[in-house]
Symmetry: D2
Subunit: 128 residues, 4 copies
């Protein structure tokens, strides 16, 4: 029996796999799969990443750090983040790539490539 | 014959939150945070998305669908997917955005915006 | 005195240097130069190039070849081409680069790098 | 002592139309035209614009203004500018667009859209 004094359970955070499935169902229900070639999804991902960059293109570094202070801009940024993730997951779906495993392997490689012990003076972040 | 009881446990799939933490630790250990303004991370994300697109730029739709057949190209694609996800997660980290919640909300909105019941003839996928 | 039977002179095609000057005057008259750092102009150029790509992102190769048949799409493509050229010229202006000399030098290099005599089988176009 | 009368004539600056012709000949001599669909050229243009942005992605505004001081970086920037212009001209060629006329028309429109007389305070540059 549930004690009414208990706080309600937190809303469950959606999982990556669940969202990937929703995206696949969404595309299938609209017959959009023929559009979703890997090439087209890579182009769409790139276009969405640019729409995210567009929000920051004239901002100073300091202004860019305050971008979430304005509710409208915060919503726009969040929306573009979702678009980028949506196309990335759909691309991974059609290619059979597990993005989390891919990222874990990449971090492993970068940890060997850029040892933290070395003096980082003048070092630039990796660009891939 | 393999005894199913002897099978090793499947390797644990890394979680998104865990990877986000590893990325933050990685940047902190190398004093890279000053570079990681939202603007710079959005630019880096866009650059990595273009490096992914570059792999497909001269491919026909059919060739693009077979891109994982060649091991070297498959590795390159997987690596660029990891780079895109890495910068997306780091951008979300500095902006305080939960990418999974953002995507779930976006799918909700798109389901209202593009009802599946409508005839999809001639309909193009949403571009954000 | 002008003979009314004479055909009017054809409208003079604007030159690249003249357009570059107009763009500089335009930005100066609006006090936009502080925004026009090389970094910001490079970001804006990339964003505009993506807006051009967006027009083609779901098109088949054949559809993309017919993009100028629809007047509205033709106008949109032409407008994005102008935006890309505008930011490229403004970037060249602030960096002191002559884009035509840069391109001539690049073609020279590519002619040495990709000799036409060689069999082009399987060869892919250069990506820079 | 150099006799000023002996000075060689300055090297003739190549024209846009001439470079466009060289690019078309270059592609034809290598049988690359089948790759040069409008969609592929738009993707390649976008990829090259990102390679240009990559040079600036971690730079502060001040560092980005000094990018031509280092000869190697100056060469890299100039080379990427050439690549962007090359793909823009090739895209214009296959679509039958005159980029200079397109830009002149765009500046005309922007002059009406952003009158210089208005106080520019807080005004942001147009993003297309």
């Amino acid at each position: 029996m549930t004690d009414p004094h208990d706080a309600p359970p937190p809303p469950e955070r959606p999982g990556l796999a669940e969202l990937q499935l929703r995206l696949a169902d969404f595309a299938a229900a609209r017959n959009w799969q023929p559009y979703h070639t890997p090439k087209n999804l890579a182009a769409a991902l790139s276009v969405e990443a640019s729409e995210l960059l567009e929000i920051f293109q004239w901002a100073t570094p300091e202004e860019s750090a305050r971008v979430m202070d304005d509710p409208d801009t915060a919503h726009r940024v969040t929306d573009e983040v979702a678009d980028v993730l949506a196309y990335l997951l759909q691309l991974c779906e059609v290619l059979g790539i597990d993005p989390l495993t891919a990222l874990a392997a990449k971090i492993d490689r970068n940890e060997r490539r850029f040892p933290a012990a070395e003096p980082p003076a003048g070092e630039e972040p990796p660009t891939g």
